[in-house]
């Protein structure tokens, strides 16, 4: 496990990477919304939606394999949806539609996260008036997931170095102790972090700065992507 395990962003210098995160987030969410609201897919929609994602993939110079690997973390949930659809006795065509919608939505959001550093996404959310506390919560989660990840690795090493039982599954039953220790450490760290925030003048209100810039390139991107999406959604062949 490395310290970058939870970072989806893949750095490159492409037009997709340089766009304002708000425009990417907007385009991504509009894409997901449109896909989810499409019923009885035509050939144009079946080919058009994946083609739009493929175009972004090319624009961002990302390989399909990287995208697939990134999406693998969420795709099992799509399969769960498929399972629930199967139990609901939906027709085969409808089940495929549910699966396709889930896959395309996951791919779209994975593309947004792979071309936008997470801190920029947080800024975009903040400037799109998502509640400040929620954004702050996500920011802490992002910042301290890496720290906690390292602590887990260290705790696991310490645990393994003192594990002598031949049957590892018996040792796993004691993992609760490790988890409890990590919980206490995290709680203590939270207190120290809060003290650090107070020491720098924190008074329950999160200050904000406008660090994003929505330029003409973003306007062009949003217009073209919306137009293409509209053509795919309402077009006829």
């Amino acid at each position: 496990m490395t310290h970058q395990w939870h970072d989806a962003y893949r750095h490159a210098s492409t037009p997709a990477h340089h766009l304002d995160p708000r425009s990417k987030l907007f385009a991504g969410l509009v894409f997901v919304g449109t896909v989810l609201c499409t019923r009885h897919w035509s050939l144009l929609q079946g080919a058009g939606y994946p083609a739009l994602l493929a175009a972004v993939l090319l624009l961002a110079r990302l390989s399909p394999l990287t995208l697939l690997k990134r999406a693998m973390g969420i795709l099992p949930f799509a399969l769960l949806m498929l399972l629930s659809a199967a139990f609901s006795r939906l027709s085969y065509a409808l089940m495929m539609e549910v699966l396709l919608k889930a896959i395309l939505s996951v791919f779209a959001m994975a593309l947004v996260s792979m071309t936008t550093p997470f801190p920029d996404l947080l800024r975009a959310l903040e400037q799109c008036r998502v509640p400040r506390k929620l954004v702050m919560f996500l920011a802490f989660l992002y910042r301290y997931a890496a720290v906690l990840g390292k602590e887990i690795v260290r705790a696991e090493r310490g645990w393994r170095s003192r594990t002598f039982d031949r049957f590892w599954w018996r040792e796993w039953s004691r993992a609760g102790h490790v988890l409890a220790a990590l919980l206490i450490r995290s709680y203590e760290r939270a207190e120290r972090v809060y003290a650090a925030m107070l020491a720098r003048g924190f008074s329950s209100r999160m200050p904000a700065m406008h660090l994003l810039h929505f330029g003409p390139g973003d306007a062009v991107f949003v217009s073209i992507s919306s137009a293409l999406l509209a053509i795919v959604r309402w077009g006829r062949i």
């Binding site: 301290y144 720098r200 003048g201 200050p207």
Partner: protein, 242 residues
């Protein structure tokens, strides 16, 4: 030398009943560099948390002739900058820029002023160009520098460092010492690194069991081997064998 910081009869008990500070009285002159040394659990860090009002014990603390109280917290925190032992506790924002900007933005500085302070303090610690980086992608030494920049951006009059050299390799430690020598502020350092104290500080305060047991000039303190030993300390390596 006028006093910039005065602690009078300060005592503090943690909620679990542990007495951390007992009747601490201390005066720090403007521009002084003072080391607070002592064994683990002596109360050094707890004392530092009182200096900017993060912890509030019994007794009185005066910073620049202003008593620490609810009404003065804003100006006290502006005057006293705390640099934590573990930079992971201090760097809590997603990027270096936002972390360094956190204090100035809270102070109500304008956007131009914030940008200016961030740029200046990062340049001061040699971390210019790291604004967009994520703290967990930095090395420990770099994180310590950014943590220091976070405090320098507040332009405090007093800097209190908790174990500044812990975890640093010899070269980074030397760079840190040379950097601290250039700072014009009043400096307080809680540390076990007695060679750093010898190199940097004029005065040393020994704490043990929540009390100040001795204070004096650094050569005087380090000349008393028995005193050091009785409080879990030993002479700096560079003085041993003399």
């Amino acid at each position: 030398m006028a006093d910039i910081l005065e602690v009078r009869h300060l005592s503090f008990v943690y909620p679990d009943g542990t007495t951390a500070l007992r009747d601490i009285t201390l005066r720090i002159g403007e521009g002084e560099r003072v080391a607070v040394i002592g064994p683990n659990g002596a109360g050094k860090s707890t004392l530092f948390f009182h200096l900017n009002g993060t912890f509030r014990g019994e007794g009185e603390i005066t910073v620049q002739n202003e008593k620490v109280s609810n009404e003065t917290l804003y100006s006290i925190r502006r005057a006293v900058g705390l640099v934590f032992q573990d930079p992971n506790d201090q760097l809590f924002m997603p990027t270096v820029f936002e972390d360094v900007a956190f204090g100035p933005v809270n102070l109500g500085c304008s956007e131009t002023e914030v940008r200016d302070r961030v740029e200046r303090s990062l340049r001061q610690v040699g971390m210019e160009g790291s604004e967009a980086l994520v703290p967990h992608h930095l090395s420990l030494g770099q994180r310590k520098k950014v943590a220091l920049a976070c405090v320098l951006a507040l332009e405090p009059k007093i800097l209190a460092f908790d174990e500044p050299s812990s975890g640093l390799d010899p070269r980074s430690r030397r760079v840190l010492i040379e950097f601290l020598k250039t700072l014009p502020q009043t400096i307080l350092i809680a540390t076990h690194d007695l060679d750093l104290v010898l190199d940097l500080c004029q005065r040393a305060v020994i704490m043990d069991g929540g009390r100040i047991v001795y204070e004096g000039n650094v050569p005087d303190v380090f000349g008393q081997e028995m005193l050091l030993k009785s409080h879990g300390l030993e002479k700096p390596l560079s003085l041993q064998g003399r």
